[in-house]
């Protein structure tokens, strides 16, 4: 880091309060741990020399195939000459026979040769290793679901906040055509979706959607059929009613039902589900911000210059609302982490073999005397949420839209 970057960073750092700096450190640190979780907690050594050859088992899988059986490599590295084990020499799923049956942290310390810093669970899986990999799950779910919810939510919210109830003017003919073609699009989309051949289906779906968008863009051109009486499509009211409808379901319950119905889905599906129930938040914030901005003079000026709506939105309004949306995104990360943990906590989260903070807490709740199972992962989550909330608080208190990123 040098020059301008250095100065900017120094300015950024010095302008922040001590709590903000600490929170930032926690977040960056946990992101770092999440990124290198495989190197921090791994049953395989990071590096070893066997028979004169160098191995990096934590990076690469040196599995050898002997016939049908895949050799497990975890224990073969024990007789190597030089070994560099990972700082926590357990993977979250490693079952340590010496540590089974709820080893408390103090007993884990006393265990000769192996250290279980934060104890083990019933099977003998290391809690610290689980927590380190849980950090990765928490961040993955938080960030990806936020991204997935944010992109459509922001697009929809900005467009609707800009069009409001009166900017999208249509003739009656255009309006009816729009509704009908939308219905037809959905119908054919479903029908094509039910075809069995995968490749044909993909191509047809993309082609059909492209056709729909093309027809709509031609059909909705302003000035077309001028002279006819126009009415304005109340996009904003319709959208708000839709949000009312969407928000009136208890979403945690709905998500629980879907999770059971889909029978313990993969992480990707969980992320999609969280994003699905969180996107209205982004849409609402983006709409409100766009509404506020589009009443200002600079937007009016660019409208009078004849700029198209998408250019006004992307070049003029977006830079002014993105910092507020960043705050929303941070909030969304924290709620996604919390949601995943609560789902795992009641036993509905990810597949059984993936260890998350919530799943360790779930074990802790089922056997209360093993307090370390509930206290440490809970504490980790508490600290992460606390630092996210500190940053959120400071950003929103200082008026996020004045501050830039």
């Amino acid at each position: 880091m040098e020059g301008l970057m250095k100065i900017r960073f120094a300015q950024y750092w010095q302008n922040k309060s001590a709590t903000y700096r600490a929170a930032l450190l926690v977040i960056v640190g946990s992101l770092f741990i999440a990124a290198i979780a495989n190197l921090v907690a791994n049953e395989k050594p990071l590096f070893c020399i066997c028979e004169g050859r160098w191995h990096f088992p934590a990076w690469r899988d040196y599995a050898e195939y002997t016939g049908l059986l895949r050799k497990t490599t975890a224990f073969e590295y024990t007789d190597c000459t030089h070994r560099l084990p990972a700082p926590v020499p357990y993977s979250p799923s490693t079952i340590d026979p010496d540590g089974s049956g709820y080893l408390s942290p103090s007993a884990g310390w006393a265990l000769h040769g192996k250290k279980h810093w934060l104890g083990t669970d019933a099977l003998g899986r290391d809690v610290l290793a689980g927590m380190i990999h849980g950090t990765r799950y928490a961040w993955l779910i938080g960030l990806l679901s936020t991204l997935l919810a944010g992109i459509p939510g922001i697009f929809a919210g900005m467009a609707i906040g800009y069009w409001k109830d009166h900017k999208l003017k249509l003739t009656l003919f255009q309006g009816i055509g729009l509704v009908l073609s939308f219905l037809l699009w959905i119908y054919e989309f479903l029908m094509i979706g039910s075809l069995s051949s995968g490749m044909v289906r993909m191509v047809l779906l993309v082609a059909w959607t492209a056709l729909f968008i093309w027809v709509c863009s031609k059909w909705l051109k302003p000035g077309r059929r001028s002279g006819l009486k126009t009415f304005s499509l109340p996009v904003d009211s319709l959208f708000m009613r839709f949000i009312d409808y969407f928000e009136s379901f208890p979403r945690l319950f709905l998500m629980m039902a879907l999770l059971v119905f889909l029978a313990r889905p993969s992480g990707a599906l969980l992320i999609v589900l969280i994003a699905f129930i969180r996107w209205p938040l982004f849409a609402q914030v983006a709409r409100a911000e766009t509404l506020r901005e589009s009443a200002l003079n600079y937007v009016k000026a660019s409208e009078n210059l004849g700029l198209p709506w998408y250019r006004i939105l992307s070049r003029h309004i977006w830079p002014n609302i993105r910092s507020t949306l960043l705050v929303t995104a941070l909030f969304s990360v924290s709620t996604a982490v919390l949601l995943e943990a609560s789902l795992s906590f009641i036993g509905l989260g990810l597949k059984l073999e993936s260890v998350t903070w919530g799943s360790i807490l779930n074990e802790g709740r089922q056997y209360l005397p093993a307090w370390w199972l509930s206290v440490f992962p809970g504490l980790a989550m508490f600290i992460l949420l606390l630092s996210l909330h500190w940053i959120l608080d400071e950003k929103s208190r200082n008026g996020a839209h004045r501050e830039g990123w």
Partner: protein, 452 residues
């Protein structure tokens, strides 16, 4: 004001309808046609089992169209809804979506069912049943060819083979992509279901054959009582605390309280609950602090009044109420004190101050009213939570409330209860929003003015 009320009421009617329709559709989608383990034995012959399912479906009028109108592909038969067994219906749809016209599907399906029911040999039957688990035409014809190589060559097998061949030959894609609207009138399942819901007939739970309404009512009584108590405590305390914080913002004590509140706001509810249980309701960490009974068994006795039950289980309910109170308290107090501070910086407050009004008077007369507005909106949002409850808290403390009932019903896939609860809470969400809007209009003349 009248106009505002009318406006909001008009908006909420279609919303309610949409929500009930969604709950209905989702339940229909998730319901499987599993056999009731209690009512029939698995050893019944296939035909008898099938006819029994169909009979029951007819009795529950499940062989009716789903909604007032429908839009179906041209190649669908207009009475596909009469197939009440979901797996059969799904398979027929798969055939239709492979381009096969309905008449040949019908011929094939009836032939196959006939073979299952009247198979001479056990092996024949097993083979056809295996065939009936497939739905891809090519795979089926390959399988059939493999089955009927030499040994299985009866008349029926020949017929089956030729009708399958017919299906493959007569595939047409065009009719699938032509939508055909149809009108079914009010004799449909949604209409009947909605009528039943309105009349209070909420169906019977699949797990223990008790009426859904009774189960939900029992759960609601627990959840509602706990949540009402905690809501009261939260609002009273946060109003008091928020104003106290606002007054001594600059002092040392205020700052400490504020950061404690911030900590409480960030703490996950289930972690707080676990900590409280570990500290005060178990012997693990500190036997001396074992003040409250461990989360235990609630013998929900429908005859006993609520007061009686509280008297009996009150000690067990203290910790859950604390868990519900603390995070919300932190949130509300923060919002209230921040709002008070914001209002103080506005010109009208400065005006009042420069006029010579005492600060206490300004707070009481002007600031408080304005700062309370967001709390009213939040009150409306709390109403569905009053009935829905918090799943993690109820599961952790073993309270037989709505959250736990929901989790249990979901786990045993008792979708009737699940979606009845969803519908109930959805309704209360809308009512809560309505109430919040009305309260807003009632307290804030600006909104009344804008609406009219």
């Amino acid at each position: 004001m009248k106009r505002l009320i009318l406006n909001r009421l008009l908006i909420s009617v279609p919303l309610l309808l949409a929500i009930s329709f969604t709950a209905f559709i989702l339940r229909d989608f998730m319901e499987t046609d599993a056999f009731d383990p209690l009512q029939e034995s698995q050893n019944l012959p296939v035909s008898l089992r099938r006819s029994e399912i169909i009979q029951r479906a007819r009795a529950e009028s499940r062989d009716l169209p789903l909604f007032y109108f429908s839009i179906r592909p041209w190649s669908y038969p207009d009475t596909l809804f009469r197939f009440v067994i979901k797996s059969e219906k799904k398979r027929i749809k798969r055939f239709l979506h492979q381009g096969v016209p309905w008449p040949s599907v019908h011929v094939y399906v009836t032939l196959e069912r006939e073979m299952v029911e009247k198979a001479a040999h056990r092996l024949d039957k097993l083979l056809v049943e295996e065939l009936s688990r497939l739905d891809d035409l090519n795979a089926m014809s390959a399988k059939l060819d493999a089955m009927t190589d030499s040994t299985r060559a009866g008349v029926l097998w020949g017929k089956l083979k030729s009708s399958l061949h017919e299906m493959q030959k007569s595939r047409k894609w065009f009719p699938l992509f032509v939508p055909v609207p149809g009108w079914h009138g009010s004799h449909n399942r949604f209409h009947i279901w909605l009528n039943q819901i309105m009349r209070g007939d909420w169906g019977v739970s699949r797990s223990d054959y008790r009426p859904a309404w009774v189960k939900i009512r029992e759960a609601v009584s627990w959840t509602l009582s706990i949540n009402l108590v905690s809501l009261l405590v939260v609002y009273l305390l946060s109003l008091f605390l928020g104003e106290w914080l606002f007054r001594r913002k600059e002092q040392h004590k205020g700052k400490i309280i504020e950061s404690v509140l911030f900590f409480l706001y960030s703490i996950p509810r289930f972690f707080l609950a676990l900590l409280l249980i570990l500290a005060f309701a178990s012997d693990t960490l500190s036997p001396a602090l074992h003040i409250f009974p461990s989360p235990g068994f609630f013998d929900s006795n429908p005859e006993a009044s609520l007061l009686e039950q509280w008297g009996r289980y009150g000690a067990q309910l203290v910790l859950p109420v604390i868990c519900l109170v603390l995070p919300s308290l932190a949130y509300l107090t923060r919002i209230y004190s921040i709002r008070l501070r914001d209002e103080k910086n506005k010109p009208y407050a400065f005006m009042a101050w420069s006029k010579g009004d005492a600060e206490d008077f300004i707070t009481r007369r002007h600031l408080r009213r304005n700062a309370l507005l967001p709390l009213i909106a939040l009150l409306g949002m709390e109403i569905p939570a009053l009935f829905g409850g918090s799943v993690v808290i109820e599961v952790l403390f073993n309270i037989p409330g709505m959250g736990r009932l929901m989790l249990q019903s979901i786990l045993i896939q008792d979708w009737l209860i699940v979606f009845n609860i969803l519908l109930l809470i959805g309704t209360f969400t809308i009512l809560g929003k309505l109430l919040a809007d009305l309260l807003y209009g009632f307290t804030d003349p600006r909104i009344r003015w804008r609406a009219s």
